[in-house]
C-alpha cells in the first residue's frame, strides 16, 4: 500500500493531535483545572485515525465514553472541544455535554456516549438514513470490547445484517473493560468471530499499526459503501492511561503496560515506518509536532479566557420548540 505524502502527514497530524490533546487533559485534570470524568484515548490513536481518515463529513461516526480521539480524527475543532471540556459557553455543546457527550453534527460526529454500547444502535440508525436517502454515506460505530457483551451490540449487528446497511462496527479491543481483563468476560478469543452469528463479514487489524488499520478499514468501508453490507472490524489495541484519569491501575502489571508503551506505541511505529521507507523526513514530523503543540496551547488559552454559560442556559435546548 502506497500512501501519498499529504495523506501520511495528515495521518500523523491527527494522531499527534489526539496524543497531545489527551496528555494535556491528563495534566489539567491532575492539576485540578478540569472537572468531570475523563477517559483518555492515548495508545489507541491508530484506530480512530486509520478509520476516520477515509471518511467524509457526510459519513457518520458514533463514539464512546473514550471519544476524544474519534472526534479529533473526524476533524472536529480542537478549540471547540477544549472549551467544552472547560464547560465554557464557546464549547461545541455550549458546555452542556462535556467529555462524554462531545458532538458535531456538521462533521457527522453523532457524539461520544456515556452508556457503554449505546452508540451502536445510533450508528445503525444513521446507516439506515444513508441507505434510504441514498447519500452514499457510511456509518461507523466505535466501541470497546466491553460493549460487545451488551445486547445493543448483538441486536444492532443482527438488524444491520438483515437490512444490509452501510455500517462499519469497529471494536477497539484494548484488553480491559473498565478494570476487568477482556478474556475474563469474553469467551471467544477474537471478538471479530461474533460477526459469524450474523453472517457478517469481519476482519482483525493490529490496532497499534496505522497502516494495518487503514488498509482493513478501507476495504471494510468500501464494502459497506458499495451496498454489500456491514462489516465488523476488530482492532487489537491497548489503553496506555487506564480507564479514566486517576485510575490507580492496580489491576494490571507495570511490566505489561511498559511493554506495550515501549514496543507498540502507534505513533512511534508510524514514525519509524515512514522514515525507514523515506516517505517522510524527521523535519516534516517535527514541524507537525510544533504546529500541534501550538494549536493545543492556543485551544487551552482560548478556553480559559472564554466565558461560562449564562445560568439561564440550564433550561434551554431541552426541546426544539422550548415547550
Amino acid at each position: 500500500m502506497q500512501l501519498e505524502r499529504t495523506t501520511l502527514l495528515d495521518a500523523y497530524r491527527r494522531m499527534r493531535r489526539i496524543r497531545v490533546f489527551e496528555e494535556k487533559l491528563n495534566e489539567l485534570v491532575t492539576a485540578g483545572k478540569l472537572g468531570g470524568f475523563l477517559h483518555l484515548y492515548v495508545g489507541e490513536e491508530a484506530v480512530a485515525v486509520g478509520v476516520c481518515l477515509q471518511l467524509g463529513d457526510g459519513d457518520f461516526v458514533a463514539s464512546t465514553h473514550r471519544g476524544h480521539g474519534h472526534c479529533i480524527a473526524k476533524g472536529v475543532d480542537l478549540g471547540g472541544m477544549m472549551a467544552e471540556l472547560y464547560g465554557r459557553a464557546t464549547g461545541l455543546c455550549k458546555g452542556k455535554g462535556g467529555s462524554m457527550h462531545i458532538a458535531d453534527m456538521h462533521k457527522g460526529m453523532l457524539g461520544a456516549n456515556g452508556i457503554v454500547g449505546a452508540g451502536i444502535p445510533l450508528a445503525t440508525g444513521a446507516a439506515l438514513t444513508a441507505k434510504l436517502k441514498k447519500t452514499g454515506g457510511v456509518s461507523v460505530a466505535f466501541f470497546g470490547d466491553g460493549a460487545s457483551n451488551q445486547g445493543q451490540f448483538h441486536e444492532s449487528l443482527n438488524l444491520a445484517a438483515i437490512w444490509q446497511l452501510p455500517a462499519l462496527y469497529v471494536v477497539e479491543n484494548n484488553g480491559f473493560g473498565e478494570f476487568t481483563p477482556t478474556d475474563f468476560v469474553v469467551p471467544v478469543k477474537d471478538i471479530a468471530t461474533r460477526a459469524a452469528s450474523y453472517a457478517m463479514r469481519s476482519e482483525i487489524a493490529d490496532g497499534m499499526d496505522f497502516f494495518d488499520v487503514f488498509e482493513k478499514a478501507g476495504k471494510a468501508i468500501e464494502h459497506a459503501r458499495s451496498g454489500s453490507g456491514p462489516v465488523l472490524l476488530e482492532c487489537k489495541t491497548y489503553r496506555f492511561k487506564g480507564h479514566y484519569v486517576g485510575d490507580s491501575l492496580r489491576y494490571r502489571s507495570k511490566e505489561e503496560a511498559e511493554r506495550w508503551i515501549q514496543t507498540r506505541d502507534p505513533i512511534a511505529r508510524f514514525e519509524s515506518r515512514v522514515r525507514e521507507a523515506r516517505l517522510l523526513e524527521a523535519d516534516d514530523l517535527r514541524r507537525v509536532d510544533r504546529e500541534v503543540d501550538e494549536e493545543i496551547a492556543a485551544a487551552v488559552a482560548a478556553a480559559e479566557a472564554a466565558p461560562f454559560p449564562d445560568v439561564s442556559e440550564v433550561t434551554t435546548d431541552v426541546y426544539v420548540g422550548e415547550a
Binding site: M105, A118, L122
Partner: protein, 340 residues
C-alpha cells in the same frame, strides 16, 4: 369551511394519520414488529397483518417495504436505530407494541433521544415518534396492560401524548410525527375500537393543550386516554343527581397544560383526577400537587385521585375490573368531596 366527517374507529384514525404523514413527507418511515406484512417479501401478499391489531394495515402496500419496515423482535435495535435515523435526517415512527416492553429498550429513549439535543447544546434534533399500546381491560395481565406514561412524562426531553378517541388520535399523531422532538404517542387499548365522527384530510391537534370535553360548574373531573370516557360517563350519572361536572381531557402529559387544569379548578373549586396508572409518582399526583401549589385559593375541598392500586395488573376479569378506576369509584370520590 367545516371538513367532511365520517364515523371511524381510533385504530382507523391512527391508520389514516400514518397514511397522511407518509404521503406528505418522504422522510417519514415506519418500523416495528409486524407493522408491514408479517415478514412477507415485496411482491408477496405483504398487506395482510399490519401489526398485532391491524393498525398499520395497508401502509406497506401504499408506501413499500423500504419505508414500512418489519423488524426483528428486538426492541433496543428498532428503537435505538429509530433514534439514530431521527438524529440524521429521517422522521421515523417506531412501534413499541406494548409500552410494557419499554424495559428492554429504555436506554435509547431515556439516555439518547431525550438528551441528545440538550447534551449537544441545541445542535441536534430527534424528530422521533414512538407509538405504543397502553392500558388494561383486555385481560392481558401484568406485562401487557400497564400505563407507564408517567415514566416517559417524567423524562425531560421527551413529550408524551394520549388521545381519548379517534378525532384527537388522528390530529395528535400527525402533530407528533411533525414535531421536531421525540414524542411518545400512547394508544389506550380501551379506545381503539371507539367510533366517532372524524374529519377527513389533514389536521393537527396541538401538543401541550388539554381540552374541555364537557362543560360544568360543580366539580372538575380530569382524565387522560380511556379515563376521559370514564369521566364522561360519571358526569352523565352526576347530571341525573343534579351535579354539573366539567370534564377535562389532558391529551398531553408532557408538556402538561397546567393553565387548563388551574382554569377548570378555578371554575368549579373541586377536582377529581382519574388515572388508570398506579398511584405513586404519577400524573394524578402531579395534577394534585399542581392544584395545591398553584391553585390553593381555588380549592373548596381536597383534591381526589382515583387510580389503580399500587399493584401489578391482574389477569382474572373480576380482579382486573376491581383494579381499574370505575364510574362508581369516581362517584364515590365526588361524594367524599361533599358534592352530590
Amino acid at each position: 369551511m367545516a371538513r367532511a366527517e365520517r364515523r371511524i374507529s381510533t385504530g382507523q384514525a391512527i391508520n389514516e394519520a400514518l397514511h397522511i404523514a407518509m404521503q406528505s413527507d418522504p422522510d417519514v418511515i415506519l418500523l416495528g414488529e409486524d407493522v408491514a406484512g408479517g415478514g412477507r417479501r415485496e411482491g408477496e401478499d405483504v398487506d395482510e397483518m399490519g401489526g398485532v391489531l391491524g393498525t398499520t394495515r395497508g401502509l406497506v402496500k401504499a408506501f413499500g417495504p423500504e419505508r414500512v419496515r418489519d423488524t426483528p423482535i428486538s426492541e433496543i435495535a428498532l428503537v435505538g436505530a429509530a433514534v439514530g435515523a431521527a438524529l440524521t435526517g429521517l422522521r421515523p415512527v417506531a412501534e413499541l407494541m406494548f409500552i410494557d416492553f419499554i424495559g428492554v429498550c429504555l436506554d435509547p429513549l431515556l439516555n439518547q433521544a431525550a438528551k441528545l439535543r440538550y447534551m449537544f447544546g441545541g445542535k441536534a434534533r430527534v424528530p422521533l415518534t414512538v407509538r405504543t399500546l397502553t392500558g388494561a381491560g383486555m385481560q392481558a395481565a401484568a406485562q401487557h396492560s400497564q400505563s407507564l406514561y408517567w415514566m416517559t412524562a417524567g423524562i425531560p426531553g421527551l413529550k408524551t401524548v394520549i388521545p381519548s378517541g379517534p378525532r384527537d388520535a388522528k390530529g395528535l399523531l400527525l402533530a407528533a410525527i411533525r414535531d421536531d422532538d421525540p414524542v411518545i404517542f400512547c394508544e389506550p387499548k380501551g379506545i381503539l375500537n371507539l367510533v366517532e365522527d372524524v374529519p377527513e384530510g389533514d389536521y393537527e391537534v396541538p401538543i401541550g393543550k388539554a381540552s374541555v370535553a364537557r362543560e360544568g360548574t360543580d366539580v372538575s373531573l380530569v382524565g387522560m386516554g380511556a379515563t376521559v370516557r370514564l369521566a364522561l360517563a360519571a358526569a352523565d350519572a352526576l347530571a341525573k343527581q343534579g351535579v354539573s361536572a366539567e370534564v377535562l381531557d389532558l391529551r398531553s402529559l408532557a408538556p402538561l397544560d397546567e393553565e387548563a387544569i388551574l382554569a377548570t379548578l378555578a371554575k368549579t373549586g373541586s377536582l377529581v383526577v382519574i388515572d388508570e396508572s398506579t398511584p405513586r409518582c404519577g400524573i394524578a399526583s402531579d395534577v394534585a400537587a399542581l392544584c395545591v401549589d398553584r391553585g390553593f385559593d381555588s380549592l373548596n375541598a381536597p383534591v381526589k385521585r382515583v387510580t389503580a392500586p399500587h399493584a401489578p395488573v391482574p389477569f382474572s376479569k373480576r380482579l382486573e375490573d376491581a383494579y381499574l378506576p370505575s364510574v362508581p369509584r369516581v362517584l364515590e370520590a365526588v361524594r367524599e368531596l361533599g358534592i352530590g
